[in-house]
Homo-oligomer: 187 residues x 2
């Protein structure tokens, strides 16, 4: 063939992800992406097709980044306690002081909830629905709660994720811990 790529796609996507994570989709420009990813516009379009394509790959990369804590949650036999551990694990991954940005998926969910971008909207809806399913499964695990209570608690924890995202964005570790502990007093 000919000249080889001077960059690794997975690496530059990692950097793009950080930018989207901090600023959101709309507030991230191609100019910023060029600078952060360290490659030219041409290369970005050659590899990912569009800004939208870069974002989709960034979301994929983020999901991969957090896949281990999802698997841990899914494989756990600790019931509701597993969800609490999942909350703590989420903070470990998302709470990067100086880079504090909450959860990329929660941020994206909020940014696109009123948008016309059906592709991303559907991804976010699916993500939330999947998470709720896992919550329900774990909440049903080691107790004999009635179905209605489980539904309520799953909804509550799903919404609590927004509080957690806000907490991990601005608060100190102690306050985050307090928030998680108080949230799970209800369960």
């Amino acid at each position: 063939m000919a000249r080889q790529k001077q960059y690794i796609e997975a690496e530059v996507i990692e950097k793009a992800m950080g930018l989207f994570w901090r600023n959101g989709y709309e507030n991230t420009s191609m100019q910023m992406l060029e600078k952060e990813m360290g490659i030219n516009k041409f290369s970005i379009y050659a590899s990912f097709g569009s800004k939208h394509g870069v974002f989709l790959e960034s979301l994929k990369s983020y999901k991969k980044k957090i896949s281990s804590i999802f698997e841990k949650l899914q494989n756990s036999t600790k019931g509701a306690e597993a969800i609490k551990e999942f909350f703590y694990d989420s903070v470990d991954v998302c709470h990067k002081p100086g880079n504090h940005s909450g959860c990329l998926l929660t941020n994206t969910y909020n940014e696109f909830i009123e948008s016309n971008d059906q592709v991303i909207k559907e991804q976010m809806t699916t993500f939330m629905a999947d998470l709720k399913t896992i919550f329900i499964e774990k909440l049903s695990g080691n107790t004999n709660k009635d179905k209605q209570t489980i539904q309520k608690q799953a909804n509550f924890l799903l919404l609590a994720k927004h509080g957690l995202a806000a907490a991990s964005r601005v608060n100190n570790p102690k306050e985050i811990e307090d928030y998680i502990e108080m949230t799970f007093q209800v369960i």
Copy 2:
């Protein structure tokens, strides 16, 4: 003098507020504002100076809109129960199905948290700080909780506002009620 204004500033700001509420600041363009406010760019700039100015006035209008439920909270003697009522009142104001947009201030807080716009950032920080102060006051009101517990609970409720905003944006009234009730089980 001369020709009189063909619009009422308070009225067009009300419409601008709705637009910002639905779409956020960055995703609202001057073109959209012209259409929604029903007046020309010239008039917008004559009355409010800039897009930023329109947004600041919209925030002012929103605060005015919710001032009554704040005053009710502040004047209540019901302690923690007053905060719960405030949550319900917030939903009454913010949960407009078909126009569902959560809380403008919480939305704005989230949109500007990583921004360089110090003016709006400070307004949001001040709003959150003021709300926390009121929460602390109410939580201290009719009990003899220790100060540490009060601090924790105030932080918890402040973060729960993000969950509530998310709930009032997408969920049905029953789910919103469940979320509030479960939140206040902790208090």
